[in-house]
Subunit: 157 residues, 2 copies
């Protein structure tokens, strides 16, 4: 019954490799310092690169951005300043790709990884935040939600 | 921008003390084994009792149960089989209070606690689940949501 928003987790390895994957298992876990926890598939490229880099970004998708969500279910293709067709810039705090089309993003420094289960819990301290387009009304009502991805979609990656 | 459902976390200490508190920082983090992570205020009674007991339950509130959510923002009062006015039974797997009026509940055994920040991350393995009232349609559309608690409520506890 847990409701979820939809995010694209991005990261850049020390060798320049870029990962970007749709995720939904996300929650804030502390105000001070600001911490968030993300359940990331332990055998995924995003997990491998993020834990090596020690940093990642979460790009918040807005209403109507189902296409982006499904695009990042697939393996990424990097072409210049585009990842899987989406323009990105390097986040100022971490270098993690910030997707230009995302509604907002946070950059995180990994402070803990809980290695239990098929997904591990990546705990990040928020070290930067950017709101590309100010949402109207409540921010938590502006995000693309899991239940908007289709009647048979219950997990985003 | 992270959207949240609303839950009442319950637990029973080895001395019989009962805690029940509204929480919202919840996400699943693994399919196998089924794990969930909950951000719990580190200086709260619910945190102290749950970590001592090693078990807890999450009671999922349904649409319209705002009153219960606000009721468990306050200190609990236990009176026989009621906690803060809500009838409960002992969960079969953990003894944690299961609220009769909740839409569904899961019982968890704590497998890890990440002690970072003002709230700690309590990681529980789901060892029992009960659906009191089968939701119509998607389960993740049936839960009471943070944004339904009022225009100025952004955090549940």
């Amino acid at each position: 019954m847990i409701p979820y928003g939809i995010y694209v987790m991005t990261t850049k390895g020390s060798d320049g490799a870029i990962a970007a994957a749709t995720v939904n298992w996300v929650t804030q876990t502390s105000f001070n310092p600001p911490l968030i926890a993300v359940g990331v598939k332990a055998d995924s490229g995003a997990y491998a690169i993020a834990t090596e880099a020690g940093t990642f970004a979460l790009n918040m998708l807005g209403k109507g951005q189902q296409g982006m969500a499904f695009g990042f279910f697939k393996p990424v293709e990097v072409d210049g300043n585009k990842v899987s067709g989406e323009v990105f810039t390097a986040g100022p705090e971490t270098g993690s790709p910030i997707l230009e089309a995302a509604q907002a993003s946070v950059e995180c420094k990994i402070v803990e990884v809980v290695k239990l289960g098929d997904h591990h819990i990546v705990v990040g301290e928020v070290v930067g935040a950017n709101v590309a387009r100010e949402p109207e009304g409540r921010a938590d009502a502006a995000i693309l939600e899991m239940k908007e991805l289709g009647d048979n979609v219950f997990y985003g990656g």
